[in-house]
């Protein structure tokens, strides 16, 4: 087990026999199996047990884009990694301490990540010749000595499960499907997890099929009892609850937190919300979640395509609702023209892009940060929009509220860049008190605003007369008497909003739209540099917050100084960013793209920032960033 602090061992009577209990500060478990084996559910349940127990935790699902890839193949392997600890952790863990492999494909796909000495629990029932051959094993790895460096536990999970659920009268196939709950039961026993939650969950989930519910509960208990009664497992482990900041916590995924942020936006703005969207992985869960909250005044419109989704959202905003659209990957490309219309008509609109591997269809279920430049610039003409990115699953809530606030205050489309890792990952969330949420109420235009007397629009309504502070234009809703006006995608004359082809007016309007976005008030960045002596600054954005933060901790533990700054606001940048960057002799920017933020930073601040990039569809590992930072720190000292 990976524990930096020494593991305390005690031998206690654990039920019917003596087992040794080892105390650990943190553990990473990876459940891996075929797509049809229910690994995501297993991981989810284990996570809920850890949350209920009070551990800090972070999770990372990893699954293929195919719904059911051919059974038993490498392409069909699905896994779920959960990291839980007795202190605050930042990532789902680089490598597992425990790997549960439900079949040869899962073993082959994941074994390289298990460090020597790691625990491997294998479902031996799947290791028949045919299955081995399917994934290119000539010899049975369970027998040929190739796994000798691990602590291997061979368990005939399918056979034991079928035996355990016999009383339910289920057919063999249905019975065997419960083997994931057997694995969960075994792991729950090993780590002293509470079990009531899982049993309750299973009975609720299969409420309409009581015999299936019963079989799953029986399999779960059989896994537990297997650990308890067989001699195979001499040691069990304990990870104490984490000492997090006081308060009430729950576990939450990024997509759920984002959806809650939109619900909270509806409540805090007192506006109805219309989510216009089209299903796309991994953003669809935002639609699924929001479709449940009609009682909060949320309408979800599943449109005929991405363009119609954002179009309906913009139409709703025009009518005085908060228009929201959500997408991923190629979907954001399709929305570009309507974002441009939103910029031109200066209406509020929240555009959520859950980034995934690209280009084109790319890697639908994998993560990436490669839409930043598209978010910034991917439209025709000078078309600035504010851009924000959440740094962790729970942070999606606050980021969504902030995106809404900007959209409503400045009457502009706002791009919120989540990503696959944040969207599907989960962590504990300190449930906010709604009394602390920001006020998002808006004022619609109700009266003519043109100065009395002669001149332009005398005493009438000027739809493009701006608020001197925010440069926002009035939001005048259809139905408001006397304020009838026309808006559209053609260039607007300043103030009147009429069509204008005047060269000077166009130049002025381009600059006004830019100035409005540049002038958005965003909080300054804070620098994390406990020693106050760092010469190297690591700058990140979005979901890499976890691995960067973990790498900084490690580097500092080794006696070095490194400063960390993480950006939530990518457009406009926080006002103090340039000054902060100038204070360091070296700036490193790790990104899951080919250096998009680095390009913006270098162009904007003339800072010789160095990029560290990886575009593998997976989050950074703390270890690799630790090495990058160590090299940088040492380089500075050598120079």
């Amino acid at each position: 087990m990976s524990t930096t602090e020494g593991a305390a061992k005690t031998a206690v009577a654990n039920g019917t026999r003596q087992t040794e209990i080892t105390k650990l500060d943190r553990v990473v478990i990876r459940f891996a199996g075929d797509s049809g084996d229910g690994m995501q559910l297993t991981g989810d349940r284990f996570t809920s047990e850890a949350a209920a127990f009070g551990n800090d935790l972070a999770t990372q699902p990893n699954f293929p884009a195919e719904i059911r890839a051919p059974q038993g193949t490498m392409a069909g392997v699905s896994s779920f990694q959960v990291h839980f600890a007795d202190y605050d952790i930042l990532t789902p863990g680089d490598r597992p301490d425990v790997l549960v492999a439900m079949n040869p494909a899962a073993l082959k796909a994941n074994i390289k990540d298990l460090p020597a000495g790691g625990t491997l629990i294998v479902n031996t029932d799947e290791f028949a010749k045919r299955n081995l051959a399917k994934v290119g094993y000539d010899a049975d790895p369970l027998e040929d000595g190739s796994l000798d460096s691990y602590q291997v536990f061979k368990v005939a999970m399918a056979t034991l499960t079928i035996g355990a659920v016999e009383s339910t009268g289920l057919g063999k196939k249905d019975a065997e499907r419960c083997k994931n709950m057997f694995a969960l039961g075994l792991l729950s026993w090993m780590y002293h997890r509470p079990t009531e939650g899982t049993e309750r969950f299973l009975r609720e989930k299969f409420a309409r099929k009581p015999e299936i519910a019963e079989a799953n509960v029986l399999a779960f208990r059989a896994g537990w009892n297997y650990g308890e009664t067989t001699e195979a497992f001499a040691v069990t482990y304990e990870v104490a609850p984490a000492k997090l900041a006081p308060g009430t916590y729950r576990q939450i995924t990024g997509n759920t937190a984002l959806a809650y942020g939109i619900v909270a936006s509806a409540v805090q703005s007192k506006l109805p919300v219309l989510l216009g969207t089209y299903p796309i992985t991994p953003a669809s869960d935002i639609l699924h979640e929001l479709s449940k909250y009609k009682h909060f005044g949320i309408t979800t419109f599943q449109a005929e395509d991405e363009i119609a989704g954002i179009g309906a959202a913009l139409g709703a905003s025009y009518g005085g609702a908060l228009g929201v659209t959500s997408t991923s990957g190629p979907g954001i490309a399709l929305k570009a023209e309507t974002i441009g219309l939103g910029v031109m008509t200066e209406l509020p609109l929240v555009v959520i892009d859950v980034q995934r591997g690209g280009p084109s269809t790319g890697l639908p279920t994998k993560t990436e940060q490669a839409d930043l430049l598209q978010a910034m610039y991917g439209r025709n003409g000078e078309c600035p929009v504010p851009v924000l990115a959440p740094q962790s699953p729970a942070d999606c809530f606050r980021t969504a509220l902030e995106a809404t606030k900007i959209a409503l205050t400045y009457r502009t489309p706002v791009l919120l860049l989540s990503d696959g890792a944040v969207a599907n990952g989960s962590e504990p969330w300190l449930v906010p008190d709604i009394a602390d949420l920001p006020d998002l109420t808006v004022e619609f235009a109700t009266e003519p605003n043109a100065p009395e007397g002669g001149g332009e629009g005398g005493g009438g309504f000027l739809p493009y007369l701006r608020d001197p502070e925010t440069l926002a234009r009035p939001w005048a809703l259809p139905g408001t008497p006397g304020l009838q006006h026309r808006i559209g995608g053609l260039e607007k004359a300043d103030r009147t909003g009429n069509i204008s082809y005047d060269p000077d007016n166009h130049d002025r309007m381009v600059r006004l739209r830019q100035a409005k976005v540049d002038g958005i008030q965003v909080p300054d960045v804070t620098v994390d540099d406990p020693s106050g002596k760092a010469q190297v600054l690591v700058l990140g954005w979005g979901s890499s917050y976890g691995p960067i933060g973990a790498a900084c901790r490690r580097v500092r533990k080794l006696g070095h100084s490194v400063a960390q700054v993480h950006l939530r606001h990518l457009n406009p940048f926080p006002a103090n960013l340039g000054e902060v960057l100038a204070g360091y002799s070296k700036v490193i920017i790790p990104e899951m793209n080919l250096g998009q933020l680095a390009m913006l930073i270098r162009a904007r601040y003339l800072v010789d920032a160095q990029s560290y990039t990886k575009v593998a569809g997976l989050p950074f590992k703390a270890e690799e960033l630790q090495n990058v930072l160590l090299d940088a720190v040492k380089g500075v000292h050598a120079a």
Binding site: H295, G315, Q484
Partner: protein
């Protein structure tokens, strides 16, 4: 905005839109913007017809919205003293859908053209019709691309010589009425720009209809496709070609026969089709009596197939006018019912079911 309570689907098209007792005139609907279509463009005639027609509805002007796409006709909203949005190419039905769903108190009109609605925006059009969103869609069909200066459109006749098709266009055109009926539109009509009376009648029925209404308007583009519909306007030709639909009346056209009605009639043909026949040959009783409320869309579809690419026959009037639940009414009802049955407790939502406390 506060949603109004819904009764489905007995509502009329405008029942939730506030009215005014103040008399209105056509000029109340004219904006201060100079109209910039080419001289002689059919769009002027339609604009005038709409501006003269709207006062008869007695609605508050501020509760009327025109949403358009891109193309000559899509400049329409700028000339209307109502609310309006000149949006992007092909997307007006989608934008108007979002508006109509969130604002039951608005009368939402979409102005589009044959390129806007049937090429780039074909997808949005059929889905708006399928959902039956409460929108009135005016499709100005001039069978050409005007704004981009004269390329053939998805309604141009086969073999059309244009700037982009010097050897003749190759595509088979859409019949917009057939397309709309294929999408199960609940209201479909057609009128000629020059026929103020016919156009106004179709607009009147469209406005009163709850749900999507597609009105195809044959519109002359004197610059790039001049005279495209002349054969439907010239005395001596027009009556032989135009087949006007009037509810409850036998479908008769052509120069008057002995009974004072047209010498031709529309009669059943084959398995499910219709055809034109001489009434004197088939007898009066064989002629179909028009019923736009006929629920099976195949009747209206068969009518739409009487219109031909070469305009040797063109059916006008209201093809179909049936009651069907509208998407926006249903969507609002779901929200209203959810609000009634559940309290919107944000704190409880955020807290969820499984929490733990750190002291």
């Amino acid at each position: 905005m506060t949603a109004v309570d819904l009764g489905l689907p007995q509502l009329g098209g405008l029942d939730l839109v506030p009215t005014t007792d103040e008399p209105q005139k056509a000029k109340d609907y004219k904006s201060d913007q100079e109209v910039r279509w080419c001289p002689g463009c059919g769009d002027y005639v339609v604009l005038n017809a709409v501006q003269s027609f709207l006062p008869t509805l007695g609605l508050k002007r501020e509760n009327i919205v025109f949403v358009s796409g891109i193309g000559c006709s899509s400049r329409f909203p700028y000339y209307m003293n109502t609310y309006g949005m000149h949006s992007i190419h092909g997307r007006a039905p989608a934008i108007a859908t979002g508006l109509a769903v969130s604002r039951p108190d608005l009368s939402v009109w979409v102005v589009t053209g044959d390129g806007d609605a049937l090429s780039i925006g074909g997808n949005h059009l059929i889905h708006a019709l399928r959902r039956n969103v409460n929108l009135k869609i005016l499709l100005f069909n001039n069978r050409i691309y005007g704004l981009t200066k004269g390329q053939y459109s998805p309604t141009s006749e086969e073999g059309k010589i244009t700037k982009s098709t010097p050897l003749g266009s190759l595509d088979h055109p859409f019949n917009p009425v057939s397309l709309a009926l294929g999408a199960e539109a609940s209201f479909v009509g057609r009128a000629l720009d020059s026929d103020r009376k016919g156009l106004t009648e179709v607009l009147r029925q469209a406005a009163a209809h709850r749900g999507s209404a597609l009105v195809e308007i044959y519109q002359n583009c004197p610059i790039f496709n001049d005279g495209a519909f002349d054969v439907l306007k010239e005395a001596g030709q027009a009556e032989e070609r135009l087949i006007p639909l009037v509810d409850g009346e036998p479908i008769r056209f052509g120069s008057p026969g002995p009974d004072g009605l047209g010498e031709y009639g529309v009669v059943r043909s084959g398995f499910a089709g219709l055809e034109v026949a001489k009434v004197s040959e088939v007898g009066e009783d064989a002629v179909i009596v028009h019923d736009s409320s006929h629920h099976d869309p195949s009747y209206a579809f068969a009518l739409s197939r009487l219109s031909t690419q070469d305009l040797s026959h063109v059916v006008t009037g209201v093809f179909r006018n049936v009651e069907r639940s509208t998407y926006d009414d249903l969507a609002r009802r779901q929200v209203a019912q959810a609000k009634e049955s559940k309290t919107a407790d944000l704190q409880a939502l955020l807290r969820g079911k499984d929490t733990w406390t750190v002291a």
